[in-house]
C-alpha cells in the first residue's frame, strides 16, 4: 500500500510517498522569512507557489516506478491557519483525482509515529519539541496523553525570540547551539518547572537581558542548559509517573546535539532506552504525514470531504490512536 502525504503546517511544504516499509520519495520546499519569524500569510503563499512542483515530483516518481497511489493524507492541524488551508485544498483535490481515501492527520501524532517507525521504540515517553510545540507525552488508554507541556511559549519559540534580540538569524536554535560550544562560564537564569509543566518566556527574556553583562557564547550555552534541563527533568518525571522505560525525541529542536546528549545521560542513569530518529524525520516532513495516514487508512480511519476542514488548534490528545 502506498500513501501520499502532504505536510505544510508552518515553514516546510513537503510531499512524500511511503509504503509499509519505507519512504519511497519525499520532496520539500522550505519557506525562509526575509527577516524576523514566520509570517503566516507569506508562508501560505510560499506553499501555494510550490505545491505544484513539489507534488508533481513525487507523482512523477510514482509513475516512473509504476506505483499506485492508494490514499492521500494531509496535516489537518495544529498549525498556521492559512498554511493548513492551502495544503488541505491540494489534498482534497488529489484524493478526488485518484478516487482514494482521504486522511486528516494530527501533525504532532505524526511526529511520534514516524519516530517510532524509524527507531523501533515501542512504548516511549515522547519529548516533542519544535518551534510551535513543547510537550511530554505517553500513550495511555488509546491516546497520546499530555503529561507536561509549556505554560506559555514553545522552547523553539523561546530560542528564536532570544536569537532575534541577540541579532542571530532565524531559526535561532542551530546558531545558538553553535555559539554554545565556545562557552566557558555558566550564567544563572530562571529555571521554571511547575510539576509536569514548564515555562519559557521568563527564561528567554532573562537571557536577552544577560547579554548586557555576559558573553554571547556564555549566554547561549546557559540558555540551552537551563531550557533543556527543564525539558529533561519533566521527561524523567513522566517516565517515573507513567512507568515507562523508553524515551523518544521528536520535533525540530530535537536535532540539537546537546539536548540529545542530556536525554541520553538521563536514560543511561535510569537504565532506560533512548531513541532519536534520523535528522530528516525530526523536523516537519511529508513522510511522517504519509506514514501516519497509512496507519490510519489500514485501521479504517478515513474522513469525508465535509470532515476535512482544517483544525489549527488540534490537540494531540484528541486523536484516538486505534492503530497501535
Amino acid at each position: 500500500m502506498n500513501v501520499l502525504g502532504l505536510e505544510g503546517t508552518a515553514w516546510n511544504l513537503s510531499a512524500a510517498l511511503v509504503d509499509e516499509d519505507d519512504v519511497v520519495v519525499e520532496e520539500n520546499a522550505i519557506y525562509v522569512p526575509a527577516r524576523g519569524g514566520i509570517h503566516p500569510r507569506e508562508a501560505a503563499q510560499h506553499h501555494a507557489e510550490h505545491m505544484l512542483p513539489v507534488v508533481k515530483a513525487v507523482l512523477d516518481m510514482a509513475e516512473d516506478e509504476d506505483l499506485s497511489i492508494d490514499g492521500v493524507a494531509f496535516s489537518q492541524g495544529p498549525g498556521l491557519g492559512p498554511c493548513l488551508r492551502t495544503v488541505a485544498t491540494a489534498a482534497r483535490a488529489l484524493s478526488l483525482r485518484y478516487g482514494v481515501p482521504l486522511m486528516g492527520v494530527n501533525h504532532c501524532v505524526a511526529h511520534i509515529e514516524v519516530g517510532k517507525w524509524k527507531t523501533g521504540a515501542r512504548d516511549p515517553v515522547i519529548l516533542y519539541v519544535s518551534g510551535g510545540n513543547s510537550q511530554v507525552l505517553a500513550l495511555r488508554r488509546g491516546r497520546y496523553r499530555i503529561f507536561g507541556e509549556t505554560l506559555d511559549i514553545s522552547v523553539g519559540n523561546a530560542l528564536d525570540k532570544f536569537a532575534r534580540r541577540a541579532g542571530l538569524p532565524h531559526p535561532g536554535g542551530p546558531k545558538i547551539e553553535e555559539m554554545a560550544r565556545e562557552a566557558d562560564e555558566y550564567v544563572p537564569l530562571p529555571y521554571v518547572v511547575k510539576g509536569m509543566d514548564f515555562s519559557f518566556t521568563g527564561l528567554s527574556t532573562a537571557a536577552a537581558e544577560a547579554l548586557r553583562k555576559h558573553d554571547l557564547t556564555d549566554v547561549c550555552s546557559s540558555l540551552q542548559e537551563t531550557a533543556f534541563a527543564m525539558l529533561v527533568e519533566v521527561t524523567e518525571r513522566a517516565m517515573a509517573h507513567a512507568e515507562k522505560n523508553e524515551v523518544l525525541l521528536a520535533g525540530g529542536v530535537g536535532a540539537n546535539r546537546r539536548l540529545q546528549e542530556m536525554l541520553d545521560i538521563m536514560c543511561d542513569e535510569r537504565g532506560a532506552r533512548f531513541y532519536v530518529p534520523e535528522r530528516r524525520f525530526m523536523g516537519d516532513n511529508g513522510s511522517m504525514i504519509a506514514y501516519t495516514g497509512l496507519l490510519m487508512q489500514k485501521s479504517g480511519v478515513e474522513i469525508s470531504l465535509a470532515e476535512s476542514k482544517v483544525r489549527p488548534g488540534y490537540r494531540t490528545d484528541e486523536v484516538e490512536v486505534v492503530w497501535v
Binding site: 492541524g77 495544529p78 498549525g79 498556521l80 510551535g132 510545540n133 505517553a138 495511555r140 488508554r141 496523553r145 499530555i146 503529561f147 507536561g148 507541556e149 509549556t150 505554560l151 506559555d152 555558566y186 544563572p188 529555571y191 518547572v193 511547575k194 510539576g195 509536569m196 509543566d197 542548559e225 537551563t226 534541563a229 529533561v232 527533568e233 524523567e236 518525571r237 517516565m239 517515573a240 509517573h241 507513567a242 546528549e261 542530556m262 536525554l263 545521560i265 538521563m266 543511561d268 542513569e269 489549527p312 488548534g313 490537540r315
Partner: protein, 191 residues
Amino acid sequence: MVEIGRGAEAVITREGDTVTKWRRPKGYRLPALDRKIRRERTVMEARIISEARRCGVPTPVVLDVTRFELTMEYIEGVKLKDVIDLDLSRRLGELVGRLHGCGIIHGDLTTSNMILKGDRLCLIDFGLASHDQSIEAQGVDLHVFFQTVKSTQDLHESLAEAFKEGYTSTYAQAGAVLKRVEEIEARGRYL
C-alpha cells in the same frame, strides 16, 4: 537503612521512624546548575513543609536539613494514586484550598505525592513548592493536578468535580482560580 523510593529526582531511604530524602546529582545538568537546583529545593522544601502544617495541612515532621538531604518523620500509608475515590478527591481539594489560602504552592500535585495513613490524608514531596499568592500560580498548581488525574485515572471528570467542591469549601478565591485553570488549559497550545 533501606531504600524505599527512588523518584525522578531523589532517593528516599528509611531508618525506623525516619526517612531521608537525598537529591541525587543529575549527570545531564551542568554541575553548577545541578548543585543550585538541588540545594535550593532542599532548603525550600524543609521550610514549606513546616509552614503547611501550621496551616492545617498534614505533612511529615522535618527532623534535619543538610545541603542536599532532608530527614523527616516516616508516614506509613498508601499512595492516593492507588486508592483515590470521590470522597478522597474532595478531601484533597479541602487541603489544597487551605494550602493556597496560606500562600503556598505545592508545585507537584500529582497523586503519587499524597499518602493516606489510616483516615488521615497527608501531603508529601514539597520539592517544587514555593510561596506565591497569585491566582495564576494557584491555577497552574491545580492544572498540574487535573492533568495528572486526566492522564492516569479513568473517572477523571468526576474526580476533578469532587476536588473542586472541596477546594471551594476551604478557599474563598476558589472561583477565580478555577476560572484561571480553564484559561491555562487553553494556553500553551500551538499559537
